[in-house]
């Protein structure tokens, strides 16, 4: 059953990676505004209308 030790370490590392990604995204302000980006992406940015 010693393979379990490796599996536990691997699974916890992956989970911690996702937790880190979540914290990073909150810190970068990804959750500050959950509406504007959805509109912004649909607005054209062409130089000439």
């Amino acid at each position: 059953m010693s393979a379990l030790y490796l599996l536990i370490i691997a699974s916890l590392t992956v989970a911690l990676g996702f937790l880190g990604a979540f914290i990073w995204s909150v810190r970068k302000g990804h959750y500050d505004d959950d509406y504007t980006p959805s509109v912004r992406i649909l607005l054209d940015d062409s130089e000439k209308p």
């Binding site: 059953m1 699974s11 937790l19 914290i23 909150v26 500050d32 509109v39 607005l43 130089e47 209308p49």
Partner: protein
């Protein structure tokens, strides 16, 4: 670009002219440019500005409606922003070369606003970037400081119609609360711990690993579970402990106290079991409970983002005012105003401090303070109190008292504002919870005693004691109230009624008296009943009157022009037109002289009995008084229905008005025979009236609209502010409602009441689960797997029930 100014009459009568920029009907004049119509110079200017920079795509985005720029803007309005001490408080960041501001632009309203504001760099290349946060109506602008002054940036935004909202609140260093990121961290960490602990507990659920070689793994899993639950205990659940501790210090028991107790017990028994190797503990249930409760609170709080409460007078006051120094005009922050300063107040500007009028005359609109809708005439030497707005030409005033000592400030310092309406311990959940905690605690103690003394089994006694607390954890109770109230909040806000928080809803449910303030709350702001008294006018005379009133922007003139909608205005140019603010206007019509205005302006004799029940506008042609228009404010048409519905629900209604006793006969039957209608009420009297009602044991809902009611709104159990702009307004109220939604008030109250019923019903459901769990616990047979199943299932049942039930109630009470 060629522009031509036409009067409305020149247009083909049947087509309405819609302004290309702001989308409103052109009422006074129509400007033409590039085959588009514009309602005013301001809109046309914004259009040409956008066209010049190739930003006309703005109009192509769906739902685009521009904003007519503020006509009261003048050059130099924002000069004070460049003063170092003001600058430092207004910006978010600066290093001398680049500066970032995060400004609130209340007029932002559609996706084309986002587009235009994020293309600011095309209007001024010194803007490096601008990023909009639409829900908060804020924009973060980074710009080159030496090239673009802060005042120029503010002026640029104002010129395109998005005047930044700068107030004394910014100056006093109070930054708007940031979106609470800490809460998201906590949810993330609790969820992470919950999932992983559950995964590591699976072997225990299925009774795996019984042979001796697996004991090392079992120890490892136990240690990992403990390590994962530590951040949950010390970080994620910290708020429950803090709140419980502060409640205990205040000598009352809030809902967080039993939660904190249950969490601690579960954690301790888990450690005990792990250390003594008697079991795996209940750490999965522990982390899961914290996770679910945090998610519940998050949803409850998210609903309020974007609605502002708790503004005081500082939010209404401008940050600076023009001050005259040896004849030259400078802008001075109003906190620096000293006695003896001479200030210059322009049209529509608020007077920030009590002062003496130096100019010959002024028309002061006190609707902000007293609720009186008509401007008051002041003469040279009169004292003018803070909070009035000048209507008409700019006036000079000498400051009498500093801002902090002015009359308005004193009103705000009334004790009603000092006491918080904090009644967390009185809420329904808290009241039920108190009995619940008592019962659970006694069951736990009895179980412990029986196991310990009767069966003489201390081990099981301890286990049964803690697992009783675990399954009876009041988190289901907490969830039922947070989710019901959270869901009601979003239902309310979909119906444009914005309660401040859950406890406002509970207080709303208990309402049994409603006090209305007349001004603006039950009247229609831009509609009135108009009647002409006097000798019948010929068609020609009506044309003359319409043409004349069409020249003025005074509200009464606009109402008369609207009243005479079917009379064509003439294209003839009026000669010798003059308008005296607050009195009237005159012009020549060929050889005839037309005068429209107050009685003394046209030379009419005012009848004695005219007690000012309504506004009168007199008309004289060739110095002969032809008659007068009587203008009476119009009540919201749904008012009788609303009041009747309130009476049916057993709620008493009252009317308090700052206005003169107009329309008493009209309103008295609507308010019912027992109702009290009081007029000429000062703000303090309104406050006292509400306090008196409360002393009689009534739960008062006060409906008000302005700062003048702020004291009464604060004193009442539920202060409801009526406003058409939820972002730009609110004294210390408990709820905000949009003006045209006031007719739904009985529905709102009914929904709040059914919310209380739903909470009681979901308590019953959670009780069933609790009894089920308790039957395992008191016998000492609660295995971790039963706890781990019971807890999420009961939580999910509660959440589903409250959501469905409150949506059903909303459909029933608020169908439009």
């Amino acid at each position: 670009m060629i522009m031509s100014i036409l009067t409305a009459a020149e247009a083909i009568p049947d087509t309405r002219h819609i302004c290309y920029h702001c989308g409103e009907e052109c009422r006074d004049e129509v400007l033409h440019a590039d085959d588009h119509d514009f309602c005013c110079e301001g809109c046309a200017t914004v259009y040409s500005l956008l066209k010049e920079r190739d930003l006309c795509r703005y109009y192509a985005i769906g739902g685009a409606q521009g904003i007519s720029p503020d006509a009261a803007f003048y050059k130099g309005k924002y000069d004070h922003l460049d003063q170092p001490e003001v600058f430092a408080k207004m910006v978010e960041f600066t290093d001398g070369r680049l500066t970032t501001v995060y400004w609130y632009l209340p007029k932002m309203h559609c996706s084309s606003c986002i587009w235009l504001l994020e293309h600011l760099y095309r209007l001024n290349p010194a803007v490096r970037s601008s990023v909009v946060n639409f829900p908060e109506k804020k924009v973060r602008i980074t710009f080159d400081t030496p090239t673009l002054h802060l005042s120029e940036l503010a002026a640029l935004l104002t010129r395109i119609g998005y005047e930044p909202y700068l107030s004394m609140d910014d100056l006093s260093g109070k930054k708007a609360g940031k979106w609470n990121r800490a809460r998201l961290y906590k949810i993330g960490i609790a969820g992470f711990a919950f999932g992983n602990i559950m995964m590591l507990s699976f072997p225990e659920y299925f009774h795996l690993g019984q042979n001796t070689s697996d004991q090392n793994l079992r120890t490892l899993f136990g240690i990992l579970n403990l390590a994962l639950s530590l951040p949950v205990l010390f970080y994620c659940a910290a708020d429950f402990y803090k709140s419980a501790w502060s409640a205990l210090k205040g000598r009352y028991l809030n809902i967080d106290a039993p939660i904190a107790l249950a969490l601690s017990c579960v954690f301790l028994i888990s450690i005990y079991q792990l250390v003594t190797r008697t079991g795996p503990g209940y750490l999965d249930s522990f982390a899961g409970a914290v996770f679910f409760m945090l998610v519940g609170r998050y949803f409850q709080d998210k609903t309020y983002a974007g609605v502002s409460f708790d503004r005081d007078y500082k939010s209404y006051f401008p940050i600076a005012i023009s001050v005259l120094n040896d004849g030259s005009e400078t802008r001075k922050p109003i906190t620096d105003l000293r006695k003896g300063d001479r200030m210059l107040v322009r049209n529509e500007e608020l007077i920030p401090a009590d002062a003496v009028l130096l100019s010959a005359g002024a028309m002061i609109d006190y609707s902000f303070v007293s609720g009186e809708s008509q401007p008051v005439e002041k003469r040279k030497g009169d004292t003018v109190y803070a909070g009035g707005k000048q209507k008409g030409a700019a006036i000079e005033l000498e400051v009498l008292r500093e801002v902090s000592q002015s009359y308005l400030t004193q009103l705000w310092n009334n004790e009603a504002f000092a006491t918080e309406k904090d009644d967390a311990d009185k809420s329904l959940a808290a009241r039920i919870n108190r009995y619940f905690s008592m019962v659970v605690l006694s069951i736990a103690v009895i179980t412990f005693t029986i196991w310990f003394l009767v069966f003489n089994n201390p081990e099981t006694a301890f286990l049964a004691f803690t697992t009783t607390l675990l399954v009876a954890c009041p988190c289901a109770l907490l969830l039922s109230s947070t989710f019901t109230n959270g869901n009601l909040l979003s239902v309310f806000s979909r119906n444009r009624f914005y309660p401040k928080n859950a406890s406002s809803i509970e207080r709303l449910a208990h309402t049994d008296a409603v006090v209305f303030d007349k001004t603006g709350t039950i009247t229609l702001p831009d509609d009135a009943e108009i009647e002409f008294t006097g000798e019948p006018s010929t068609h020609d005379e009506l044309v003359m009157i319409k043409t004349l009133v069409g020249q003025s922007s005074h509200p009464l003139s606009r109402l008369i022009a609207k009243h005479l909608a079917d009379v064509p205005a003439s294209r003839r140019v009026l000669t010798g037109f003059s308008e005296t603010s607050g009195r009237g206007m005159a012009a020549q019509w060929g050889t005839r002289i037309v005068k429209v205005g107050s009685a003394c302006w046209v030379g009419a004799t005012v009848p004695e009995h005219n007690s000012g029940q309504s506004s009168r506008v007199y008309v004289a042609i060739d110095e002969v008084v032809k008659g007068y228009f009587t203008i009476r404010s119009k009540y919201r048409p749904e008012l009788p229905e609303t009041l009747a519905a309130l009476h049916r629900a057993g709620i008493r209604t009252y009317l308090l008005s700052g206005d003169r006793s107009a329309d008493r006969n009209l309103l008295a039957p609507l308010f019912g025979p027992e109702a009290l209608l009081l007029f000429n009420q000062k703000p303090e009297q309104k406050l006292d009236f509400v306090r008196e009602l409360q002393r009689e044991g009534r739960h008062v809902l006060m409906v008000g609209d302005g700062l003048n009611d702020a004291g009464a709104l604060r004193q009442s159990d539920v202060g409801l502010a009526v406003s058409d702009d939820i972002n730009n307004f609110s004294p210390s109220c408990d709820a905000i409602v949009e003006g045209n939604q006031l007719s739904l008030l009985p529905g709102y109250i009914a929904l709040a009441r059914s919310g209380q019923r739903i909470i009681r019903q979901s308590f019953t459901i959670s009780l069933i689960y609790n009894i089920l769990g308790l039957s395992f616990a008191v016998t000492g047979h609660l295995s971790p797997v039963i706890a781990a199943i019971l807890m999420p299932v009961s939580s999910i049942t509660i959440v589903a029930f409250t959501t469905l039930a409150s949506n059903a109630a909303a459909r029933r009470y608020l169908k439009n």
